[in-house]
Structures are given as C-alpha cells and as structure tokens.
C-alpha cells in the first residue's frame, strides 16, 4: 500500500498511503530571500530577509526548532502559534507584527524536528542599542511616551492571558518614529524546551524576586521587569545589574529593602535571614532626574509582594500619564 500516488481518483479505493510529494508544496515559490543573521538569541537564530512577494519588504525571520512528539506537533506549540496569529488580528501598535508562519519541512521525519520560521516585521533597533547610541539623557517627554508604549503593550498581552516573562531592553524594539514595540512573547513553552539545549546566558537583571526564588508567578512578573526598564530609560544604565541569582536578590533588596518576614513566601529554599537587613533606598537618589510621578509609579512596580504590585492597567491610569496629555 505504501508508495501509492497521492492523487486518489474516483476509481481507486482510498489508500491512506504515505504522501510522497509533500516536498513539492514546501518548496512552492521561494517567498523569502535570506540576507544576513541579525542575532542568535537564547531561542534560536534571527535572520534579516527580503519578502520577495511584497516588493522586497525587509522582514525579520525567527527560526524556531520544535521537537516533534510521538503525536506530531506538540499541542502547546500549536496553541501558542495559533494564539500569536489570533493576537495579530488586533494589530496593536505596541506589538511587533507577525506577518507569516512558514515551516521548512524537508527533514521532518529524519530528526523528529520541525523547523518553523516566524516572519515578523523588521524594526531597525532594539531599546538596548537605542539607549547605548543616545547622545545624552532622554527628554522627559520621550521617556514618558516610551514608558506608555511599553505598558500599553504589556497590558494588551495581559488582557489576552499572555505573560511575557522575559521583558528586557533587548526585546523591546524602537521604530524610526520612536515608538516602542514588544517582541519575543507568547512562545514561552516552545522556547522552554529549546532553552535547555542552548547555553546562552539569560540576563537576570529584569527578573522579579518571585522568579529568582522559584515560587509561582503571574502577570506581575512583567510589571517588575517593566519597572526595571522604565528606570533604565532615565539613567540609560541597568537598575539592578546582578551577576548571579543570589547577587541579583542582593541587588534587589539593597534597593527596596529586605522584605519583612511575614511577606517572605513559604516553601522557599532560601530563608529571609540569609540576607542582611537592608534598609530601603530612596528611589529619588537612584533616579535623580526623574519626575516625582514617575518615581511614585516605578516604586509601585518594584514591590516585593506580587499581589501588592501595580498592574499594567494601574500604571496606564497613573497620574504620571494622565496629569499632562502625552505628546
């Protein structure tokens, strides 16, 4: 039965045989021309490419390797990609556009791996390089509108039950018009399986205490990371540059003070007493140029207890943004 042709005519009985000419469909008309590698992140390689069907528009292609399970494509991967597709329908201004999903499937069966290409709009620079290249401190207005962009994107994800989990300047993109767009979200589970295979150092600087302590977490993790990024907009240098998991916690507690014992989560391997009794620092001394409203909001985002942290929506409604209209 195997090896029968894929076309079933009305005479021949349905064969359920293997379909031999799948590769033909995979190769139909080359759609993208690879230009160069933009970066190799923890999750795979990102290429810059030209969309041959859309007037040579430049796109960013992220290559994601998915391990195929016994039952084909993993359910989590499938649902996450479908969710990204669904989100795309809203065309949120602070979310990077997902233009296409392709798979290169020639060697699917051989190594039980599926290579997926997620095609995103190409944005020239990320916030990290933007801050590095900035000639001097950013203007108050610039900081405020960028902060608002970031928080709008995060609030949008949260309202669609998505936790980014890895917000940092590196995956916040800055368009030529100075708008910020979030990238690299939604494939959390897909990436997780991949992360075990690569040994790229993942930055800890934007990690909230609950993640460092290994307790359960929710959307509040993104608010913490946002707080760190927003502070960085003011100083152009990272707020909490820890060098290891424990050093990161020391950095955090030196800033916000060691939390009282009753706030320390249960079932944590590390006890509160392993940290000196750091007193909280005044945020104004760390961010001397920041507006009082900005300080107040960032302070509300960098709270130890995730339940007491502001939400992204709280932030968007904060006087920092509402008192004066955004320009």
């Amino acid at each position: 039965m195997s090896g029968a042709s894929a076309s079933s005519t009305s005479q021949s009985p349905p064969s359920m045989a293997s379909i031999s000419d799948f590769s033909a469909l995979f190769q139909t008309a080359k759609k993208y021309e690879e230009l160069n590698v933009i970066g190799t992140g923890a999750y795979g390689t990102v290429y810059k490419a030209r969309d041959l069907h859309n007037g040579g528009q430049i796109v960013a292609m992220k290559k994601v390797k998915v391990a195929l399970t016994e039952d084909g494509i993993p359910l989590s991967t499938l649902r996450e990609i479908a969710l990204l597709r669904q989100l795309e329908a809203y065309r949120h201004p602070n979310i990077v556009r997902l233009l296409d999903v392709c798979h290169g499937g020639q060697s699917v069966e051989r190594d039980h791996q599926l290579v997926l290409f997620l095609v995103f709009e190409h944005v020239e620079q990320d916030l990290e390089s933007y801050l590095k290249r900035a000639p001097g401190p950013l203007s108050e207005n610039r900081i405020r509108s960028m902060s608002y962009d970031i928080l709008s994107g995060v609030d949008f994800l949260h309202s669609h039950r998505i936790v980014h989990r890895d917000l940092k300047p590196h995956n916040l993109l800055v368009t030529s018009a100075g708008r910020v767009k979030l990238a690299d979200f939604g494939l959390a589970k897909t990436y997780d399986t991949e992360m075990k295979l690569t040994s790229v150092v993942v930055t800890l600087w934007y990690r909230p205490p609950e993640v460092l302590l290994g307790v359960s977490y929710n959307t509040a993790v993104d608010v913490w990371s946002c707080g760190c990024v927003l502070a960085q907009l003011h100083t152009r240098s990272p707020l909490l540059p820890g060098s290891s998991d424990s050093d990161q916690l020391h950095c955090i507690f030196r800033l916000i003070g060691r939390p009282p014992r009753h706030e320390w989560p249960d079932n944590v391997a590390i006890v509160a007493d392993s940290f000196p009794e750091y007193p909280p620092r005044d945020l104004a001394s760390v961010l001397p140029r920041a507006h009082p409203h900005a300080l107040n909001m960032i302070k509300g985002m960098l709270v130890f207890d995730p339940a007491k942290r502001l939400t992204a929506l709280d932030c968007l409604e904060h006087p920092y943004f509402t008192e004066e209209p955004l320009t």
Partner: protein, 251 residues
C-alpha cells in the same frame, strides 16, 4: 423457537448497512461523513468535530482535491482540531479509527509497515494542514453563539411550550450538519446560529412568543444580531437544507 425474530440482530445489521462504505465512495463525496464518524468514535466534542470539518473545507479551498488522499487529510484535520481545542487525540488512536472505518470489520492495525506508513502520512498531513491554514486555527465558536441564543430564547418561551418542541436539539443538529457544506465558511458565526435557530422554529412550526406583534415578524432575532437581513437569513437556511439533498448515503 424458529419463528422468533431476532430483533437485535436485525437492528444491528441494519445499522451496519447504514454506515457509508468509504472504499467505494467516489472522490471526496464522503469526506465530511468520515470526519464526523471518526470524530464521534474518538470521543471528540461536537464543536471539535465541527472545527475539523472547517479545517477540511479551508484546506480544499486552497488545495486541489485530486492532489491529496481525502481520508489522510480528514484524519489530519481531526488531529489538528483536537490540539487546537485542547482535546488532543493520540495519533495512534486516530490512525486506528480511520483504518477501521475505511476497512470495516478489520481488527486494529499491527505495528507493521502499513501502520507506520499511515501514521507517517497523517503526521505529515497535519503539518501540511497547519501550513496551508497559516496556523490560523481560530474556530468561529458558532456553537457558543447558538447556545447563548437558545438560552436567551428559553427564558422568553413559556416553559410548557419549550418542553414540548425540541427546539434546542433541532437547531444544534442543523448547525452540526451544516458543517458538511463548504458554505459554512461563507457566513459569520452569529448569522449561522440565527439561521439554524430560525430553521428549527420553522420546521417545528413554533413561533417566537409575541413576534407577530412586531412590525416585522422576523425582527425577534435583532436582539441577537443586528446586521442580518431577512434575505440573507433565508439564503443561509437554504444552504443548510441543501445539505440534506446531497447524494443519499448508501443504505
């Protein structure tokens, strides 16, 4: 005792004969029947089976029906629909159910070449379906619209009348059966739900209480969806009825 009619045997043989023979069916004429049969055998929710049918119709809107084995694609659609709706199907179960439905009476497949080639084909076809759909696996949740409308309408009907006419069952059956037709892709979910509901009311000869007091007696459904014209509603109802005039199943 010779004259006693073996009712059970008669019934079961009748039921056996009513099942379509996919081997002798021409081309894709039995494709959606196959999806429904396998979906039910796999214990999937009606909405998931309906999603599989939608994937099938979408797939062959793009691809040529002569290029792919109909039942391989159908099985792959069931697998993809199961995953997209968090009701995963074991690939092995899907392959066995499909094989058994095509080859009636045969036992489960041995773990041999035939099994592996079929399994490989379905796994490949699943990826192909996903690719052709561009990973747009959002199903239109027509069932939920209909359920919501039915619940609202139930409150409006006198309880006794609601109990005597099987409105909900009939409307849901129309919706499920409409998935046999590729026309399901042409209309929005709320419109299809209203059409199924209207058709059920017509078939059962039931009218919505106080609807006759409205200027337009079809206006009762404007509380559910504002932008459905009467003509459009009739058009969908006709499309639903056409499903029942397809080639009769072999009996």
């Amino acid at each position: 005792m010779k004259d006693v009619i073996d009712v059970m045997a008669l019934q079961s043989s009748r039921r056996e004969r009513r099942l379509p023979d996919y081997r002798s069916a021409s081309g894709h004429s039995m494709a959606t029947n196959f999806i429904f049969e396998c979906g039910i055998k796999l214990g999937l929710q009606p909405a998931t089976v309906a999603t599989a049918a939608i994937f099938y119709h979408k797939f062959f809107k793009e691809a040529d029906k002569n290029d792919y084995d109909c039942y391989v694609i159908c099985t792959a659609c069931l697998c993809a629909a199961g995953k997209s709706r968090d009701e995963p199907v074991r690939l092995r179960d899907a392959v066995n159910v499909a094989h058994n439905s095509i080859n009636r009476g045969s036992g489960p497949l041995e773990l041999g070449d035939e099994y592996w080639s079929m399994r490989g084909a379905v796994a490949q076809a699943e990826l192909l379906v996903l690719r052709l759909l561009g990973f747009n696996l959002d199903s239109p949740s027509t069932h939920r619209y209909l359920l919501h409308y039915l619940r609202s309408l139930q409150e409006w009907f006198p309880a006794s009348q609601w109990r005597t006419a099987p409105i909900a069952r009939t409307a849901m059956a129309f919706l499920q059966d409409f998935h046999h037709s590729p026309a399901i892709l042409d209309y929005r979910a709320p419109h299809i739900a209203v059409a199924c509901l209207t058709l059920a009311l017509h078939v059962l000869g039931v009218s919505v209480p106080l609807a006759s007091t409205l200027d337009d007696d079809a206006a009762w459904y404007s509380v559910f969806t504002k932008d459905l014209q009467k003509e459009k509603n009739w058009e969908i109802m006709e499309k639903i009825m056409q499903v029942y005039s397809r080639e009769p199943e072999p009996i």
